[in-house]
Symmetry: C2
Subunit: 472 residues, 2 copies
């Protein structure tokens, strides 16, 4: 099966054909770094990380660009103008300090989720000149107008407007937020450049006076700057289709840039079946979540839903995901014992083909995981029947390539991975002592040792060939 994606722009599952053979350019709308990253921030990066890994697995060279919106709307006006003017700069709020703090929180959380860093992380504040240039080009092209230091995009002058969201003009009029003091010609028009009012801290000089770019502008500018005027894949959450992505397309195409070919949109995350809402405190930050769940289990849980379906987070579903992950890892641990140097040729070809088919079908990660669970079941059976070192090596390679490499889920637990040899040595010594106790029929001691090991989280299983252990 050829690689296909559901393209929001064509509303169809299309076969993927890159603009430049062998290369793929991807742009993903990244976070606004003005608050702690929350669960809603996790899905897109994990999905796009897997997309990137799959494309690389299939031999493409990928350039992955994901922006950071640091041109925000922090204003110090509540402090009172007089006070503001009198205070030394070091005593005042520095918006970039806020942006910087949450920039690192976001990328630290992404690292814990095993999301690889983008190839380029352009910041809105770092591309003001380019945003001014595009605004100027749209003014020159007659699809924008200036009103008292603001520059607006003239939606009526760009006929295909609505092509992504499929909204008709009437609907669009209803969809516009009621703005109290708007000087727009048409409520559907949107800002390319905004005049900075007094008290607005982030501001830059421009041909239209001091101000800052409108939010939609940065993505049209930064995606094309690093990927070219026409590029392959653009993604974001479903809620970004309108107005953000609609406006991005309008800005780019009105300036003569063909822009993104394929638009991928991921669905939302719910918490205990309900939409997250900060206002109702029905909401969880990633830091809170990681206190209770291994970030890799969170990643694994996200991949258990297809990206276009809603993904629900609850204690039950996360616990189930963590258990599933543990099962795969346990198989990996068992198969690694006594694995040979060379893998059995031709082993797991069917599993590899089924995995590829799932991934090629619009990145069907739940199906791809099902393939790995089936493989694990087969492997466990083979282990019971006494698998050869070559078979074990092939099974281990399968997990290394697809679970670790493509899905980004490491097949060994991390914190303990580092000191695993030490643990292995210590537990091994204790099991020998216990074996000695049993040999001299001191079952009380043997049982007590087993109980104490279980308290420490180590489960012991006695088999015909001796005792095995695992971390429970």
């Amino acid at each position: 099966m050829a690689l296909t994606f559901y393209n929001s722009l064509t509303r169809n599952k299309d076969e993927f054909r890159p603009v430049v053979p062998g290369h793929v350019g991807i742009y993903m709308c990244g976070p606004t770094v003005y608050s702690e990253p929350h669960l809603g921030h996790a899905r897109g990066p994990v999905v796009f990380d897997v997309l990137r890994r799959w494309l690389e697995h299939e031999g493409y060279r990928v350039r992955f660009v994901s922006n950071v919106t640091d041109v925000g709307h922090l204003s110090d006006v509540e402090e009172g103008e007089d006070k503001l003017a009198k205070r030394a700069q070091l005593e005042r709020l520095e918006p970039m300090e806020v942006a910087e703090k949450y920039f690192w929180s976001y990328f630290d959380a992404m690292a814990r989720l095993r999301v690889r860093r983008p190839d380029v992380v352009p910041r809105a504040s770092g591309h003001i000149i380019e945003q001014i240039e595009l605004t100027r080009a749209l003014l020159d092209g007659g699809v924008a107008y200036v009103k008292d230091g603001n520059v607006y995009f003239d939606v009526s002058a760009y006929q295909p407007y609505g092509e992504l969201s499929g909204r008709d003009p009437e609907e669009l009029l209803e969809g516009t937020r009621v703005e109290v003091r708007s000087d727009k010609d048409d409520p559907r028009d949107f800002a390319l450049w905004k005049k900075a009012e007094e008290g607005h801290i982030m501001r830059w000089p421009s041909p239209w006076g001091e101000g800052f770019p409108g939010w939609h502008l940065e993505c049209s500018v930064m995606s094309t700057k690093y990927l070219g005027d026409e590029f392959d894949i653009h993604g974001g959450g479903l809620d970004l289709i309108f107005p953000h992505h609609e406006c991005e397309i309008a800005q780019a195409r009105a300036a003569g840039k063909p822009f993104a070919r394929v638009w991928l949109h991921w669905n939302m995350i719910t918490l205990e079946g309900e939409k997250m809402a900060k206002s109702k405190n029905h909401f969880v930050t990633l830091a809170q979540l990681f206190e209770r769940y291994d970030p890799v289990a969170v990643r694994f849980h996200l991949l258990r839903s297809h990206y276009r379906s809603v993904s629900d987070f609850s204690d039950d579903s996360l616990t189930a995901s963590a258990q599933g992950l543990r099962r795969l890892r346990e198989t990996y641990r068992l198969v690694s014992e006594g694995a040979g140097e060379t893998a059995e040729p031709g082993a797991f070809e069917a599993a590899r083909a089924a995995f590829a088919e799932a991934m090629n079908d619009d990145l069907n990660t739940p199906q791809a995981l099902a393939v790995l669970f089936d493989a694990a079941r087969d492997i466990n059976r083979a282990l019971e029947a006494g698998a050869s070192p070559a078979y074990r090596a092939a099974a281990r390679a399968l997990f290394d390539e697809l679970l670790d490499g493509v899905l980004g889920v490491p097949p060994t637990a991390d914190a303990l991975g580092q000191s695993h040899d030490l643990l292995d040595g210590l537990v091994g010594m204790l099991l020998e002592e216990r074996q000695r106790a049993r040999a001299r029929r001191d079952f009380a001691t043997a049982d007590a040792m087993r109980a104490r090991l279980e308290e420490l989280g180590i489960e012991v299983e006695d088999t015909a060939e001796g005792s095995r252990w695992k971390l429970g």
Copy 2:
């Protein structure tokens, strides 16, 4: 003793007085992110991290800004113009992709060295507008001139030039690099804005044509943007005094900004007694170093020299540092056992005072470490004599505050810290088994267990009160 710093500008050890009481603004020249971070990159960030922590310990509110130079001189010209024009953007080198890669390498290495992130990490590419503005101001002020798309700072128009390096004009003329095709009026003049030649990839529009800022400009612009026109501390390596910092001062002061009050310069790192040189391959990347030494031991080693002295790295000196660190940590581990909830009041006041005196004396970290080693020796004696839970708690608090908090050296080893309870439980069980073997006079088994534990890196010490262990 009041807080004093050796100020390169006054050539004197001056008492520190902040511009804004209670606040300290610090700017440190950060890396050019076009290659792997090497040992030379480690010293400044570690020293300034300790500076920041000490100022915070003393009650100051610090804003720490450290830039990233990503406007480099990568050019794709060697590919040939024709080829360049014909290739799709995705196939071409993207300088920002290179910068991004090494940006993360640098900050990953810094995190391993326990260097806290700066409050603001401005990028040169993100402040082009501001750099154009300062260039324009210097042109308006008559201290700069335009030559064919380049803008130069006119050194002769700024009389105090040389005030930081103390060089006289003759010396300065000798010091200038021979440039083959220079259109400068005076060889001492330096570029504020450079015309982008064909093949130069990173370029921005400016009033003087397409180009990019000169290297010195970004630091004058970004330090004052985030810290104010006059700020407290500016730092860099000794090799930056001339021309970089001299030019920074000239640019800022000629534009009417008082600029930094205190200039701190750290000395170089040598490798086996010799200056590092990439060209001679006498050179080590941080990644290479961290393969052989715990990054915390590297940090500890850096702090064993005063920042204005040369710090030498050799296997012997690093091993000695790692041993010293292990001694402090061992004391910490022993003292933590049986530490009470409340600390003995007034304990370690003299040590605290001596530590503060060392730090206030131009950040004398080797002296501050000597204070902690002395304290550890006293504590070890007290432990042998049977220290009280309150004494133990006070000793632990001392290390938490000064070793961990101020010097940024965690008093427990990390990788094992995570699974320490588990290790503790397992080793405890084994020592009990060994005790039982000894009780039944089975010394062969007891000795064999001890030998196997030692193979695993666990040293066992038999004492009157039972066996103790430590990771060797």
